[in-house]
């Protein structure tokens, strides 16, 4: 099993110092080669799950386990998990003033390669790689020279997240509401980018509210998340059912 989450519990510390449980016994398995979608109402803990999986500080695992490629990654640093191939496309991509996107990506790629014991990519090789990927996503080289996410529109930021994934070629992608803020054209481009990454040895977890992304990226499985748990799983038809009927009936069950 590529990603195996078992009975995961997680709490965060709120601004006023209270401990707040968010994930309350979440279990989920994603095999290599499959795309799974997670749908759920706002506040159900979807982004929290993405942070726990990638090791963000402040998101403490209080129970259960996360195995990636058969290895327990629950205690690893974020950069170790990244080097193992976990990639998060952020719901809200972060601005990094003063660091050009192209510099950032080259440093990131080489840091990952170094951590895996691979040789670093030379500057010309990297330029060739990024040119090709940027073209694929309709991103100008001019944009890549600008500081990471600074001054980009919501849609441009999401496009950049996928571009970074194309360059870093992770084994597993978590896409947290990558569709929000995208117009129809951008949604198409971004979905094409994601579909290009589908591969037998790669898995994906697509977090979304809406059917519309799943019209482009057809999932193998759909999971409904409510109140920190997976409360129902099914095939792609489940997404259409949710779109039509909403989450109300699951909220009752989860409470």
């Amino acid at each position: 099993m590529m990603l195996k989450i078992e009975n995961l519990h997680c709490k965060v510390e709120t601004a006023d110092g209270e401990e707040k449980p968010i994930l309350k016994g979440l279990s989920l398995e994603v095999p290599a080669g499959e795309v799974h979608a997670i749908m759920g109402p706002n506040g159900s803990g979807k982004s929290t799950l993405s942070y726990v999986l990638t090791g963000r500080e402040g998101y403490d695992v209080t129970g259960g386990a996360i195995a990636f490629g058969g290895e327990d990654i629950g205690e690893m640093e974020p950069e170790e998990r990244a080097a193992k191939g976990l990639y998060l496309s952020f719901q809200y991509p972060v601005e990094i003033p003063g660091v050009p996107t192209i510099t950032f990506l080259k440093e990131a790629l080489n840091a990952q390669r170094k951590a895996r014991g691979e040789t670093e990519v030379s500057a010309p090789e990297f330029m060739k790689l990024i040119r090709e990927k940027a073209k694929q996503l309709g991103v100008s080289m001019d944009m890549l020279k600008r500081a990471v996410n600074v001054g980009f529109s919501g849609g441009e930021k999401k496009r950049m997240e996928i571009l970074q994934a194309l360059v870093l070629e992770p084994k597993f992608l978590i896409l947290d509401e990558t569709d929000s803020g995208l117009d129809i054209d951008a949604l198409k481009t971004v979905s094409d980018g994601v579909n290009a990454l589908r591969a037998p040895d790669r898995g994906m977890l697509v977090i979304t509210h809406y059917q519309r992304l799943l019209d482009h990226i057809t999932p193998d499985r759909v999971h409904v998340m409510a109140n920190g748990r997976i409360v129902k799983s099914g095939g792609p038809e489940l997404a259409r059912e949710l779109e039509a009927e909403g989450y109300d009936k699951y909220l009752g069950e989860a409470a």
């Binding site: 640093e77 950069e79 990244a82 003033p97 990131a108 840091a111 951590a115």
Partner: protein
């Protein structure tokens, strides 16, 4: 002022002794030390940089070695670049020089400050910019981890003169770069940039006073700093605008990152304005590293120290962008990068 009761510390005695028979600025320093001792935090201008205390391991006269200067009075040629290295040997010492940039000439002056352990070095420059002259001054305090080094300069501009000053300070037991500028307005332009980056126990003090005496002067100042655990950064900036200095446009900004809860950064930006038709502003902000950005970078695979270094570099580098000479600019940015990688 009562002088009779003052008992000199060993460092004060050593400095007075080192300056026996000196003239000019060094004689003034000797007499000030004799009468008031070394400045302490009770002195308003030194309240965060207690020099007497920092010099507590100094007890003999030392030497301030000046490299790169062929005369104590200089009138450099147009396009000249002066490269000075000031090395304070253990003990108390002082040296000074005078530089005049002739009318219409452009000169670059680079000063490297070094202080060995147990050194108290005092360096003073009197700089005059004649009409339409330009001075690019770069001061680097990168090599004084266990010593005390105080650089002070008195810079007087004539109308139409341009001063572009950049400082890069990695701190010392105590490092202070103090600049007093007389700004006549009338087309003269002052641009001050400063960067400090302080590892554990290092202290850097950036003190500037810009006195606007005539109309229409422009002054820009941007100082950025970062201090790690037990590092201590000090910024004191003062703009004085005389009544005669109408239409002065002067802006001062200090921004610093506390890299740890145990870092200390003290800032005092001050405006003293006697004219009514001016545009003057100051800003001061202390912050911490953006943890969200740090996580984002680590999620992409950058190890935490590397991510942190990149974030701090991108924050700090801005004032160095104003260094006119490209190779000098890149050298200083490179030094900053190296320091960041070594930061504990």
């Amino acid at each position: 002022m009562t002088t009779a009761a003052l008992t000199h510390t060993p460092a004060e005695q050593a400095l007075i002794e080192a300056l026996q028979g000196a003239t000019g600025w060094r004689a003034q320093l000797r007499e000030a030390t004799r009468e008031q001792g070394l400045p302490t935090k009770r002195n308003e201008l030194w309240k965060w940089s207690d020099l007497r205390r920092a010099a507590n391991d100094v007890s003999a006269a030392g030497e301030l070695v000046v490299d790169g200067l062929d005369a104590a009075f200089l009138r450099p040629d147009d396009g000249a670049r002066l490269n000075l290295t000031l090395t304070a040997k253990p003990g108390a010492s002082a040296a000074d020089a005078e530089v005049t940039v002739p009318a219409g000439h452009a000169v670059t002056l680079v000063e490297h400050y070094r202080a060995e352990a147990g050194a108290l070095g005092n360096w003073h420059l009197k700089i005059t910019l004649e009409t339409g002259a330009r001075l690019d001054r770069v001061c680097i305090a990168a090599d004084a981890p266990d010593g005390v080094f105080v650089s002070s300069a008195e810079i007087v501009l004539a109308p139409g003169a341009v001063l572009n000053q950049r400082t890069l300070d990695f701190g010392a037991k105590l490092s202070r770069i103090e600049t007093h500028i007389t700004h006549p307005g009338e087309g003269a332009d002052v641009d001050l940039g400063g960067v400090y980056l302080l590892d554990a126990k290092h202290h850097a003090d950036t003190t500037t006073v810009v006195h606007h005496t005539g109309p229409g002067g422009q002054t820009r100042q941007l100082v950025k700093g970062a201090a790690a655990s037990h590092g201590h950064g000090v910024f004191q900036g003062k703009f004085i605008v005389d009544r005669a200095a109408q239409q002065t446009d002067a802006r001062m900004t200090h921004r610093a990152l506390m890299l740890d809860d145990r870092a200390e950064i003290d800032a005092k930006p001050e405006l003293e304005i006697y004219a009514d038709d001016v545009q003057c502003a100051h800003g001061n902000a202390l912050g911490a590293i953006d943890e969200t950005a740090l996580f984002y970078m680590r999620q992409r695979g950058l190890p935490a120290p590397k991510a942190r270094a990149l974030l701090i570099e991108s924050f700090l580098a801005e004032p160095l962008d104003g260094i006119a000479d490209e190779s000098l600019r890149e050298t200083l940015k490179g030094e900053l990068r190296n320091r960041l990688e070594a930061l504990s």
